[in-house]
Amino acid sequence: MALVLSEDQQLLKDAARNFCQQRSPLNVLRELRDSKDETGFDAAIWKQMLELGWAGMAVPETYGGFQFGYGGLGVVLEETGRTLTSSPLISTVLICATAVNELGSDQQKASLLPAIVGGELLMSLALDEHSLHNPSHIETTASRTSDGFELNGSKTFVLDGHVAKKFIVVARSSGDRDSKEGISLFLVDSGSTGVTVARTRMVDSRNAAKISLDKVTVTEAAVLGDLDKGFVGLDRVLDIARIGLAAEMLGSIREVFERILEYLKQREQFGVLIGSFQGLQHRAANMYTEIELCKSVVRAALSALDDSEKSGQGIAELASIAKAKLSEVFMLVSNEGIQMHGGIGMTDEFDIGFFLKRARVAQQFLGDASFHRDRYASLKNF
């Protein structure tokens, strides 16, 4: 397992960094927020990202992708995390393209993947039903009709739900409310009769929506993956998404820490730089150490995704390790980011608060630290 970047990955990372710093700095998010932008991301920047091939990073060449692997997508996400770039990269590319690629039929792949890579199609996973991530707790129902299914239920925390043209809806086609059996995935057009989408404004100024499904009908062909047995595949997709999200979080964490360090070396009180106070030095040294651990688990998890010999169990463990660890450390570093800047850290004009806000949303999304510690313990049989 390679824990250091390959030369290609390093080049890609440098290019992504350049792009994000120049084209998509944090101010872009601030302006989107202040102007209450309808889309919630900058379409021109997204178009450039598409031109750079970012939407096809982990997609096979047969479907228009570039086969750079998750290691490639991971370094891009890390860099977009540094500038808190708002884009459909997570909803559409990391999650939905992965779901289609992992679970879809040849025909579904052929019709959806090239459209994602080309930027014509935005998609979103409609999974959570309550305020806490719990992917097997599904109350949305899928009942058989003569030529397909009828979906009823509601979903929340649907990333980019307000702009997605298609949803992957997780619904229960059989089984009890909390059972892993009886879960199926359906492709649903956002314009279908019975679909209502309500954008939610989250604290991180990124984009999400609540959607409700009222007697929405889909055909047999809309099933993505195995009917009733969708959970295993879903969980794998979620693991890939958790690892990719951890990569994005790593970028944000590193950025906050670098901003903290810069401030410690610049702000003077009591006639000396505040960075000379041991009370702050040791906290900085501890953060540094935690961040080194984060880098290692993100690298390990990404390279496991590109290793065809790695078992599903191994991936699941790494995903939970990564999401638990990164959630914990993002919380620590984002809090210290405010504290170590003093009063200025509390002002909206100063950027550090954006990271605090993003941290909590990223922590919650796809399971927070305690969710993943619990999951890890179960995977380890204790």
Binding site: A285, R299, S378
Partner: protein
Amino acid sequence: MSSQQDFRAATRQWLESNCPESMRTPMVQDEIVWGGRNPSFKNPDSKLWLERMADRGWTCPTWPTEYGGGGLSKDESVVLRQELARINARPALTSFGIGMLGPALLEYGSHAHKLEHIPKIVRGEIRWCQGYSEPGSGSDLASLSTKAELQGENYIVNGSKVWTSYADKADWIFCLVRTDFDVPKHSGISFILFDMASEGISTKPIQLISGSSPFCETFFLDVKVPTANLVGRLNEGWTIAKRLLQHERTMISSFGLASGQSDRGGTTSTVASVEGAAMHYRGDKDSLSDPVLRDEIAQFKIDSEAFAYTSQRSIEESRQGQGPNATSSMLKNYGCELNKRRYELLLKAIGSQGLGWEGEGFADDELLVTREWLRSKGNSIEGGTSEVQLNVIAKRVLGLPDILSISKK
């Protein structure tokens, strides 16, 4: 087949035929091989294993063959380590010569020093101890005052050291001495080597809270040390001393590593892993019934895995022959704090059976946990305290201003 695959195959085959069966079982404390002039081999297989490994230089795999080392590349040594781990092979030799002095001597010693000392370290013929700390100089090591004065062909050493691990069992000492009192403290220190059998040396064991007495007070009274035993230049010993500490810290950081399923390096008993112990003592079958402890253990294990990846990454990132740097402080600090957490969790897992001191009513394994728990408290003190490691990270890695140099202004 790549040459690395060839090497792996050949290594595996050699280990299969040369590693004695009993050397593929978890190490027990009193069978650790430290070598020395009067080595003790409680298990005769240990002797055989040491000889076979030393013949290939594989006790020190990457050291040059010129001095008896294995001459392996970094990649080959990784393969060797993996193959040893695969059969759960015990370390053939454990010593301060391997983990501390050897690497420093290879970097700073003269050809004559290397010829004299390195082969004996590889073969485990001389056991070394570390004469750094003094009663008045612990974290502030550079303030040390044991002195060496030139007299003809010899330095005359006077003073005392403390916490000298295994000074009473060691054959030679690598020692920091003050050779100039009139310059800033870092600039008057020299690094010398001498025989512990020299006249004028006495040692007095100190008992630890865990009951064992691995370290000593060490006294020097007019000890004669040939000038040829000076390593590097006079008064320039601090650089060597610091470099050696980086090696020591990397070595100590491995306390934080768990091997495989077991948190305690391969033991097969009920207390081998924290979660296994917790379930055993609660009579749990499928999952741990105490949800708070379960969460704490999960957090510990996640951190352990993250740490193991980080140690591995630091090896991958270091270039051939480059050795450790200031990040060794990061590994040392985290690894040691992790090991302390491991033992606190084991105590919680086991309950009062993990608090026996000696005698009836406790299994040997349980008594060992008590002693190891106590011993683990020293991890964050030996090799430089955790606070000192954090200072090093702040200063050397993060480039934050040094409060001590500011306060002196």
